[in-house]
């Protein structure tokens, strides 16, 4: 089964937007925990939910055509983007367990996708 470039683009975009949604949710969660004014945390959480919905719509459209072997692992790339966003925005360090663990996860999702094709 060949995978159209449009599907690849849609799923890649879905993973990117999904990871940015998590950044906004984390920002809102931190502000809520720190007892900031509702306007301070409602905006990022609302924005995160909007991006989350957009991401899942793109994902549904993306996986309608094409091989899941190709498309599945690309969704898990969202975790990789998030590793960089988390370091950039929240000073969360890279460490060995995150890098090894995430590599195993991406590899695992790849194998699940292979099994689905």
């Amino acid at each position: 089964m060949t995978t159209p470039h449009n599907s690849i683009l849609l799923v890649l975009l879905a993973s990117l937007i999904g990871s940015l949604a998590m950044v906004l949710l984390k920002l809102g969660a931190d502000r809520h925990r720190d007892k900031r004014a509702p306007s301070q945390w409602l905006m990022p959480i609302g924005g995160g939910i909007a991006l989350f919905l957009a991401s899942s719509v793109l994902y549904v459209l993306g996986i309608r055509n094409g091989s899941l072997t190709v498309l599945y692992p690309m969704v898990s790339l969202g975790y990789v983007w998030a590793l960089f966003w988390a370091r950039w925005f929240f000073n969360e360090p890279f460490n060995r367990s995150k890098i090894v663990g995430l590599s195993l996860v991406v590899l695992g999702v790849f194998f699940v996708g292979m099994g689905n094709s």
Binding site: S19, M22, V23, L25, K26, G28, A29, D30, H32, R33, I45, G48, I49, F52, L53, S56, V60, R64, S76, G78, Y79, A82, L83, W85, A86, R87, F90, N91, E92, P93, N95, R96, S97, K98, V100, G101, L102, S103, L104, V105, V106, L107, G108, V109, F110, F111, V112, G113, M114, G115, N116
Partner: protein, 151 residues
Amino acid sequence: MLEPNVITPGYATIQQLEVSNPVVRSEPRRGVQDTSLASIALVVFSTLIAAAAQILLRFGADNLGDGGLTGILTNVSLIGGYTCLGVNTMLVVIALRGGQLSVLYPIMALGYVWVTILAPLYFHEIINPSKMVGLVLIIAGVSFIGAGSRA
């Protein structure tokens, strides 16, 4: 007289201790959030809801047809799927208050595990050796990340 909270000359600063003492250095750095066990448990639970959402959305997408906007808005599976996504999002936000994004987000990959195990019940799929290997790798990876965050 010295106040009790004033740093006494002659005492090493935390930075100096970090250089000279590897045990102190292994302590979490200030400013970096720890990830609580409760947050990890909540995210693991949320992946079950996320898996239900995935399966409902898949049902919905399969039954979408050419009904246009009305077809989407009256599709019970899609509505159920997005409701689960909403509940999932709420749980995730609560969990994110108590932990690192780069720890908690990859744990959500457990959703793949539940979906792969549940899909054969609903979609005439099978769990073949490749999927089995994938599930083991995902569980190992998530365990690695979770254990590393508690070390």
